[in-house]
């Protein structure tokens, strides 16, 4: 069960990452990044319905769909029990648990990437193609920034939870 024997890459995780304080900071950072992304979406919507918006283009439900996809993807990815991803080498797991976990993980990453791609699509089709000027174009840019931040938040949370696993493992032995 030595991790160093069957690792895939030539480099290892740096030592300072295996620290519970780093893990805590990572989880807080992940929440902050998600909040920042969410409020970029809300900011675009609020600006679109305020009196400052000179154009008659508004943020509709279409603009929210990529954000919803990204948030669902984040939920799916971080709901998976991480130890099940390589469960096939253990005896207690049933048949194909790792396969199922990887499939659900794939769905989660597909939702996340689909959210980012969808936000770019919305920006191009709704705001870039009709050649709107900047205050209107900001709705599209904010959408892309928001989905990128949700993706970053997911990765930070994922890495933090992997730190937790190593930490738990070291102490359990």
């Amino acid at each position: 069960m030595d991790v160093s024997n069957n690792r895939l890459f030539r480099w290892t995780k740096p030592e300072w990452l295996n620290n519970s304080a780093v893990r805590t900071v990572g989880v807080y950072t992940s929440g902050a990044l998600f909040s920042l992304g969410f409020f970029f979406l809300v900011d675009a919507a609020a600006f679109s319905h305020s009196s400052l918006n000179g154009s008659n283009v508004h943020v509709k439900f279409v603009d929210w769909i990529p954000g919803i996809c990204s948030a669902l993807g984040m939920l799916v990815i971080n709901s998976i029990e991480k130890s099940r991803l390589h469960a096939d080498s253990f005896s207690y797991s049933g048949a194909g648990v790792a396969w199922k976990a990887r499939f659900v993980l794939f769905l989660g990453f597909a939702l996340l990437a689909g959210g980012l791609a969808g936000s770019a699509t919305v920006m191009v089709l709704k705001y870039l193609m009709p050649k709107y000027p900047l205050p209107t174009l900001y709705f599209g840019i904010a959408n892309v920034i928001a989905n990128g931040l949700v993706m970053l938040s997911t990765f930070v949370l994922w890495v933090s939870q992997n730190i937790e696993d190593d930490y738990t493992y070291n102490l359990a032995l």
Binding site: Y28, G31, F39, A46, S50, S160, T168
Partner: protein, 128 residues
Amino acid sequence: MAAGLKTIIALSFVLAIGFLLVILSSALWHNFLPLIVVATYVIAPLPNWICSRCANPDDFMDSAGNGIVDFGRFLTGFLVLMGIALPALLAHSGAIEIPAMVMSIIGGLLIYGTIISFSMFFQEQEEF
């Protein structure tokens, strides 16, 4: 004990300044939207406290309990950044003025810092 008393007095002073800034930011422009920041920062430590009661962090073998703690931390991080992002959002969409935004952000950070320092003091007292 005298040092603890001094810190408590200083903390309450900072808390009063924070509340003053937030109330001023809303009362000066007769627009009471920045008061939401106070609610955000008061709610912010709550998920952490509730979730740390739900799970036992000393139990290293139980991996199911740490998820709740992480979820509480995630929510706290979300709410803390919400306290900064909400006034910026309101100012950007023209609901409040820019000076009101600055005052409510600074006041909110002072209030949250006070809450955090107070909780740290109580934790130190509980451990003995």
